[in-house]
Subunit: 207 residues, 2 copies
DNA sequence: TTCTTCATGTAATTAGTTACATGATTGA
DNA sequence: TCAATCATGTAACTAATTACATGAAGAA
């Protein structure tokens, strides 16, 4: 009967989903794969665990059903939950946190081969392309007036625009970096920096 | 005497730093604050723990000194460590993972007030501005021919360019989103999507 | 009927963070 | 000589992941 620990951003992320409608746990995992996971990625098992904490705090209610012999739990938000969510939205929140293994590999590229760096960048381009396609498909669906939660479109669009711009930025960077690495000698350790490129970066950073 | 668990990306991040030069643990934490933390953020205490694992695997060596009555541990990479790093660089690696609490708040903005959304976006703009300034200062230092590790400039520049572009993208998005939210009615739940804006996003996603 | 995929959940493990503790150094 | 900051490290905790297990539903 230990007291649940404090609410985390993950708790509020799920609470936010519950504010839209009630979901079964499995539906929550679907939503994580679709939209939420792009800005707040969490493992599936978290989505089975975290709502229990919301219930313990009175922010959500669980209702148990049966599908054959199996249990299914559906969660809904409570009035207290709505107030808690509103209070959370008043706080400024944290800026973006980025974890980018491929960039790390580029950063240490002089310890590997030129081919390594080029294939890492190719993987980055492929990643951006794939993400973009999924994102674009969703946007087109909405544009066609389909897709769920049309009443949340104004908010959804802002977040979607961020992801769109992010994927485009990643793709453009990877392309540019590829042209840079192509100019390297075979031993990346001997690569000399492109002075004009640095000046260009400084220019892009001046706004 | 339990066997160390497998090497993680964090292990390789530190191994990469050791490939540049030997560092004391504290110097590693400085480096995390400066450069590494922008692409692979980890808590300080990790930097005291992770090198021990590298030593256990024979990828690094620890040398113990004394500063007055206090111990200081300095780590250096071994030949095995260099080979392990090179092997890691051959694998494609993971694409960017983003955690963005403020974006989550925008995504759920209809549960709060218009003022909440605007202040969240203001915080995002401030974040981008601040990060950009630090980044720009570093770039200018390099451009002036100062700064450490001039021989790694070609690699450093590629990573720096990514961050530059990222910060600029975040700032531009936050400005654009602010103009969008400014057009909302007082109740964000009543905000209607801007059809032209959606078309514009689709255009930006088409490349 | 069997295979595959959808759906539901728990248990074990770990990577990572927060908090704590304290010595060394420097400058007011 | 006192306070503040730099420097060094450990311990306790927890958020999150990976792995596991299995029933239901629909296709072949």
């Amino acid at each position: 009967m230990s007291r649940a620990s404090a609410l985390t951003t993950t708790s509020y992320a799920i609470l936010g989903l519950l504010a839209v409608k009630s979901w079964s746990t499995y539906e929550l995992t679907r939503q994580m794969d679709r939209s939420l996971g792009r800005m707040w990625p969490r493992a599936q098992s978290k989505l089975y665990e975290e709502p229990k904490k919301l219930v313990e705090y009175g922010l959500a209610e669980a209702s148990a059903e049966r599908v054959g012999r199996r249990p299914r739990t559906t969660y809904s938000i409570t009035p207290i939950g709505r107030r808690a969510l509103a209070a959370w939205l008043q706080e400024p929140g944290e800026g973006p946190v980025l974890e980018f293994e491929q960039l790390l590999k580029i950063f240490f590229a002089e310890c590997g081969t030129k081919a390594d760096a080029l294939s890492t960048l190719a993987a980055t381009r492929a990643w951006a392309k794939q993400r973009n396609e999924g994102n674009l498909a969703a946007a087109r669906t909405y544009l066609a007036g389909e897709g769920p939660f049309q009443h949340r479109l104004a908010q959804h669009m802002l977040a979607g625009a961020f992801l769109t711009d992010f994927y485009a930025m990643v793709a453009r960077w990877a392309e540019w970096a590829t042209t840079m690495v192509n100019q390297w000698p075979d031993d990346p350790g001997q690569a000399t920096p492109d002075r004009a490129a640095i000046e260009e970066i400084v220019r892009r950073a001046t706004w």
